[in-house]
Symmetry: C2
Subunit: 185 residues, 2 copies
DNA sequence: AGGTTTGTGTACCGGATGGTATACTCTTAC
DNA sequence: GTAAGAGTATACCATCCGGTACACAAACCT
């Protein structure tokens, strides 16, 4: 019998989609065993802390992905406008043009928020700081940059909610295009 | 022994806060009995359809509230800018300056979405149409008005997510102020 | 080859879940 | 004053919950 999942990390994508779709409370261990192909024995071997450790691992993976694909370009690209452009491109790819929801947003709205409070707060705080920095380097004055960074992050999250409610992913694409236009023309 | 809840409608506020905070799946009947002071017997007397009917009733109440306090002023106020101003005021009050979350948004993100799909879609579609109309009457050209209406709705929803994640309601207030400024100066 | 780590299947735990059944007590109307 | 219906309390249902225990198998190292 072949192993479907060889390492703990191989289970994370399936776990992520589950938590995105059903939330933390809504995702049951039996759903997880089906989606990952791992029995409870294996799951608790990889994640001794149970469901909470699984969710924390998914959040950490998301954090790492955004750090390398979004935050770093924003901070490191000598051409600030280019870094911002890469951010919009990465965000569009990550959320699949509005067809995928933000796990950090989902967790932030529910009571799960308290459980992962610092992770959730840090995610948006770091993103906001990096974006503010890039906007400043792109020519915005500091206070306007901070305001606009906030507006961009909220716009992205809100567009995901709206796309989902209206079942119309184009809402997300349009929002991304508008924000990019305002940011770097 | 006095009746804490004399009518079905008296249970809706408590139900709303519960669903907002814990989502549909996360809200259990025992939490509901505690929060409303009603035993299961009474609950199923008022809501024969169980938890799903309770959530539907809450959504209907929200819909009605927004219809009278938000959608109607947008459409009916002869002074379009004043109608838009009243919308921002009503929204700020309803979401308590960012301290309260949008149940429609919460339901839209999870798997609950499918259960109440048409209600959720209609809520945003009607709001968007009313706001587009008001913006047009306030001087925006039709396509720009539709775009900006979308941006306003997403901004509101996103700001609620961000306020919650950062535990900083001021994010919501700032967003509302910025949007109002852009809309009616 | 032997033994140890790493991973897996399965039975099981106490408790909570949404929902039902039923017997009861009020209030109201005649 | 009594009958009907509205509203309530309680016990109970099957099912599922997250988590644990433990025996077992494959992979690895020496």
């Amino acid at each position: 019998m072949p192993r479907l999942v060889a390492e703990r990390a191989d289970a994370l994508p399936a776990l992520g989609e589950l938590f995105r779709e059903f939330g933390f409370e809504g995702t049951s261990l039996s759903m997880i065993t089906v989606a990952t192909g791992l029995g409870k024995g294996s799951l608790y071997h990889f994640f001794p802390g149970g469901k909470e450790e699984m969710a924390a691992a998914v959040l950490a993976e998301i954090d790492a992905w955004f750090a390398t694909h979004v935050f770093e370009p924003l901070r490191r690209d000598p051409d600030a406008a280019a870094g911002i452009g890469r951010m919009f491109q990465a965000v569009d790819a990550y959320f699949r043009g509005g067809g995928r929801v933000c796990l950090v947003g989902v967790f932030s709205l529910g009571d799960t928020r308290e459980r992962f409070a610092t992770t959730l707060r840090t995610y948006f705080a770091v993103w906001g700081a990096a974006l503010t920095d890039a906007l400043s380097r792109a020519g915005w004055n500091p206070t306007a940059a901070a305001d606009f960074a906030e507006e961009i992050l909220a716009g992205i999250q809100g567009a995901l909610v709206l796309s989902r409610a209206l079942d119309e992913p184009a809402v997300f694409s349009r929002m991304l295009a508008r924000l990019r236009q305002r940011a770097i023309g």
